[in-house]
């Protein structure tokens, strides 16, 4: 009986963890390309989820709402990069962090203005009851979430390995100056990083909404968890971010289930502080995965 419960925890944990991993991926992408820790990443998730809900309730189909939302949030990412990041790209990293924090506050406030405090929902992507596996119930939406993570990671991998732009990104990560000399414009790469993480954030938001509902303030906690995942993985390590996200999700669900649900949010923060205090380079290390 207990085994079933643990299996259930594991599955919910991996679902949640996949979302954290996606957010962490977006954070790591921006960090590697621009050196900025984007504290507004969680707000992209919230905006994506809420936008999709609005279009869906206006009569658009679910896939259409998803696509529209992803495109809109990608544009929001681009606007933010042009208006708030690019003008100060040479400022200290502290200045840039403060700016992204400010942006997250503005976005959250505007979301409150537009959508209010009520939660919004989307239907599950596929109908039908939970699947029974070894006595544990798997919500079909969880499978969609895993799928999104796998597709994203594969897509990112192909992009980095096979395309010109992917190679440019890697060159830029290794040495900004060298990339500049090779005719790669870091400006465009920075814009691209924000577009990608806007789209990624929105996708994650839409996929999780059938499970958790969407609220204007969902982004803050999710963004924070994404950070914790990225730091566990060692901030510039893609493989680490994924594992960090999954690990954090599982840890949270087990912690909430076995100790106390009030502590759910505290777990991620305690993990963050422990990692920062004892192993700030990340616990996954550089063995697994590689830089973007």
């Amino acid at each position: 009986m207990h085994v079933n419960l643990y299996l259930q925890f594991l599955i919910s944990g991996l679902t949640l963890g996949s979302i954290y991993a996606l957010i962490a991926l977006a954070i790591v992408t921006i960090y590697n390309i621009t050196g900025i820790l984007n504290m507004a990443q969680g707000e992209f998730v919230a905006l994506g989820a809420l936008t999709a809900c609005t279009f869906y309730s206006a009569g658009f189909s679910l896939p259409a709402s998803f696509l529209i939302s992803v495109v809109i949030i990608a544009i929001v990412g681009a606007l933010i990069e042009r208006l708030a990041i690019n003008p100060v790209r040479n400022a200290s990293s502290i200045t840039l962090i403060i700016i992204t924090i400010g942006l997250s506050i503005i976005i959250r406030g505007l979301a409150l203005l537009i959508w209010g405090t009520n939660p919004y929902s989307l239907p599950a992507f596929t109908q039908g009851g939970p699947l029974q596996v070894f006595g544990a119930a798997i919500n079909p939406q969880s499978i969609w979430v895993f799928g999104l993570l796998i597709v994203t990671v594969t897509g990112l991998f192909v992009f980095m390995e096979k395309t010109y732009w992917g190679k440019a990104v890697r060159a830029c990560v290794i040495n900004r100056m060298a990339a500049k000399l090779m005719g790669i414009n870091p400006d465009i790469l920075s814009l691209m990083a924000f577009v990608i993480s806007g789209a990624l954030g929105a996708a994650a938001g839409v996929f999780i909404t059938p499970i958790t509902l969407a609220t204007y303030d969902m982004g803050f906690a999710l963004g924070l968890k994404g950070f914790v995942a990225a730091i566990i993985g060692g901030i510039n390590n893609v493989g680490g971010a994924i594992i960090g996200g999954l690990l954090l999700g599982v840890l949270e669900v087990f912690g909430a289930g076995l100790i106390s649900s009030g502590l759910k949010d505290a777990i991620a923060l305690i993990v963050l502080i422990i990692v920062l205090l004892f192993r700030p380079q990340g616990i996954i290390g550089v063995v697994i995965g590689r830089k973007v």
Partner: protein, 338 residues
């Protein structure tokens, strides 16, 4: 009139103004606002040293402020400590917490402290909410006694006004001393070029840690006074938004200046009061959440257009300046590479 005597005349006028103000002000409302400005100024002076001198940022100042306030509340109401020992605990405790989290994180790149303080800030807020008996949960703690120093009981606003005035003055003097000392100079040197500071014998991680602990110490001081002034506390004023507000206050007043924090706090408190009155006119039944949009806007716009703040500090960073630094950094990496 010579400059020097003009300066003394101004100081004398300001002092007299400060002393007689409570008698001139008819409303307790304005006096209480001045007291709050004074309390926040203590916190922001510390944050200003951390940001303007050591070049670090803390997103958890409200937590240190809260630890100070809760230390007073818990120790006086639950453990019947005297008001002065509880006050001392309010100052020491945040400084200890800062020392523990600052030591490992300040050895790393500059943004790690930002993340660690963010995490501590939220964690401490969760603790205030979930602390059950000890912290009183979301409704907080009541019945904090009046601060007693000798025979003096601080049970009225005007008494607090003078008390806070004395503390602010002392902190001003301390920060001014620091600025003109070997330590202040070294902190500013670290901000300009950490490489060169280290090459000149400065242990930058240790010095930044001291600045961080100092900022937590002042936040705790502010928190302790706050608890004695309000006499009941709940978790709400010590949340992440308050930490952000402290950062805004430090930034808009001008980093690396002594008067900047007072200016920044005054502006933000005034803005908060105005918005509280203005926002409902445009957005019916709006709560305080909407104010935060303005704070975010102010923060972003200041950082983009006027990162040195409103009063001129020692640091006038221009675009060409930072480009020059970027260029230097690149030269350095190139020279190291070859």
């Amino acid at each position: 009139m010579p400059r020097e005597s003009l300066k003394y005349l101004l100081i004398a006028a300001a002092s007299i103004g400060f002393v007689i103000l409570p008698f001139v002000l008819e409303s307790n409302y304005l006096l209480s606002i001045l007291i709050i400005i004074g309390i926040y100024t203590l916190v922001v002076e510390g944050l200003g040293v951390l940001m303007g001198y050591a070049g670090q940022v803390s997103f958890g100042q409200a937590a240190f402020f809260g630890i100070g306030a809760y230390a007073v509340a818990i120790l006086t109401t639950r453990y019947s400590w005297g008001t002065i020992p509880a006050f001392l605990a309010a100052i020491v405790l945040p400084a200890l917490v800062a020392a523990v989290i600052g030591r490992p994180t300040l050895k790393l790149k500059e943004h790690y402290l930002a993340l660690a303080t963010l995490a501590i800030g939220i964690l401490v807020h969760i603790f205030f909410n979930e602390g059950g008996e000890l912290t009183g949960g979301p409704s907080g703690l009541t019945g904090i006694p009046y601060l007693k120093i000798g025979g003096l009981v601080f049970d009225q606003d005007y008494k607090f006004y003078y008390l806070i005035g004395v503390f602010v003055l002392l902190v001003f003097l301390g920060v001014r001393n620091l600025d003109r000392s070997r330590i202040g100079r070294s902190l500013r040197a670290i901000r300009d070029s950490e490489v060169a500071a280290e090459a000149n014998g400065i242990n930058s991680a240790a010095l930044k840690l001291k600045a961080f602990v100092f900022s937590a110490f002042l936040a705790g001081l502010g928190g302790g006074i706050y608890a004695y002034y309000i006499t009941f506390i709940s978790p709400a004023p010590f949340n992440f938004n308050m930490s952000i507000q402290f950062v805004i206050m430090a930034v808009i007043g001008g980093l690396g200046t002594i008067w900047g924090p007072l200016l920044g706090v005054s502006l933000m408190v005034a803005l908060g009061e105005v918005l509280r009155w203005l926002v409902p006119l445009f957005i019916p039944n709006a709560g305080g959440e909407y104010q935060i949009i303005f704070y975010g806007l102010i923060l972003v716009l200041t950082m983009i257009f006027k990162p040195e703040g409103l009063s001129t500090g020692w640091r006038k960073k221009t675009v060409s300046d930072s480009e020059e630094q970027e260029q230097k950094k690149e030269n350095l990496t190139v020279s190291i590479r070859r």
